[in-house]
């Protein structure tokens, strides 16, 4: 598992039915591109998060493929409609096989 990887997520705790809410996510990660060389001239191997998935009550919301040009600590902000109360599940997939997960509840009044 890569070092110092911390997922952070912000979802409003309440919303009204059918409202578009704004979700922000950030994961601290080095996102080593695989293009750089160390001081001895050896290529530093690629180590990035390659996929980011958000599900709501089992239904997919977004599914993102990440490429090496994406910066360190990738930040995503997007909007989603919430028809009912439920849980957002956030999943990040690392090149090294690690999976980082986070979830947030939301109540629809």
């Amino acid at each position: 598992m890569a070092e110092n990887v911390t997922p952070r997520v912000r979802v409003p705790s309440e919303a009204s039915a059918g409202e578009a809410i704004t979700i922000k996510t950030l994961i601290s990660h080095l996102m080593e591109s695989g293009q750089r060389k160390d001081s001895d001239g050896n290529v530093i191997p690629r180590a990035i998060i390659n996929r980011f998935v958000v599900d709501f009550n089992g239904e997919n919301v977004i599914d993102v493929a990440l490429a090496p040009a994406i910066s360190t600590n990738p930040f995503f902000e997007f909007q989603a409609f919430v028809p009912e109360s439920g849980t957002f599940n956030f999943t990040w997939y690392d090149d090294d096989g690690s999976v980082y997960e986070e979830s947030k509840e939301i109540t629809v009044a």
Binding site: R8, R10, K24, S28, T72, N73, F75
Partner: protein
């Protein structure tokens, strides 16, 4: 004739006041107001002192107005972990003496300050390393290292909004005078002093960059250009290097004096660190 028209057009573009909302107020997380404009202290020959935040683009300004959006807060989180981590032979962490980081509110605004025991002006970084060496018996951090920048960011973040208030007289008077002299001394092949850009020309453009007053109330600063926290002395080095001079080294008495003097030019501005700049 064409040439004239072209020249006039360039002039118009260059003078467009641009991209920054210089009238905006800085409110973090919707409730923490930070002073970005203050009456100039008596020793500063300007009418008003302005935080560097004022000079940045709308988008960059917005990044600092919400802790989730502020990339510098990642480094604060790292430092919170370090705060309670025991290191060194004495078996102590920062936490074991100081308690929670929030207890350190009010520390950042008064540094650099005089240390009576050591008989020297100390920056926050020097004090942190003194703690590490004498109390924790741990290895000191590099003066502008990532660990140090993170810890400075944590200490700044708990003092956000408090006005910068460093002493300029008493035992620090000599260092302050040295700092003032350095501020107005032209260096390098370009023969530029700090004042040439940050006092005489703030608000103007230096190539594509909008010159600020060079205030350091926002340090450590997350810069979009290198995606990490930048310390005051690293910034000083960058500026002096850009005049094409040999620079003083980070942590040198000259830069400590300059930090004290530059900090005093921002007395009255709110602590912002970790701020976001371009």
């Amino acid at each position: 004739m064409k040439t004239y028209a072209f020249a006039a057009l360039i002039g118009a573009v260059a003078m467009t006041p641009a991209w920054a909302d210089e009238e905006a107020d800085l409110v973090v997380n919707g409730d923490l107001e930070i002073t970005v404009r203050a009456p100039a202290p008596d020793h500063v020959p300007m009418s008003e002192v302005l935080s560097g935040w004022v000079f940045r683009s709308d988008e960059t300004q917005a990044l600092q107005m919400d802790d989730f959006d502020n990339p510098g807060m990642i480094f604060v989180d790292d430092a919170i972990e370090t705060w309670s981590t025991v290191e060194g032979n004495a078996g102590e962490s920062c936490q074991s003496c100081h308690g929670d980081p929030e207890k350190m509110a009010g520390v950042r605004p008064v540094y650099p300050k005089w240390n009576e025991e050591a008989g020297e002006v100390r920056t926050l970084a020097m004090q942190v390393n003194d703690c590490r060496e004498t109390r924790m018996e741990a290895e000191p951090w590099g003066y502008t290292s990532g660990d140090m920048a993170n810890m400075e960011a944590l200490l700044a973040s708990v003092s956000r909004g408090l006005p910068i208030n460093v002493a300029t007289d008493g035992p620090v008077a000599d260092a302050w005078a040295l700092g003032e002299e350095l501020y107005y001394t032209r260096t390098g092949q370009l023969e530029l002093s700090c004042a040439n850009c940050h006092e005489d020309n703030y608000g103007n453009n230096i190539r594509a960059d909008h010159l600020s007053q060079g205030q350091i109330n926002g340090f450590p600063t997350y810069r979009l250009k290198n995606a990490k926290l930048n310390t005051v002395h690293a910034r000083f080095k960058g500026c002096v290097r850009d005049t094409r001079a040999e620079t003083f080294s980070a942590g040198s008495p000259e830069f400590v004096a300059l930090e004290l003097y530059v900090a005093s030019r921002g007395n009255g501005l709110g602590v912002e660190g970790p701020s976001v700049r371009n």
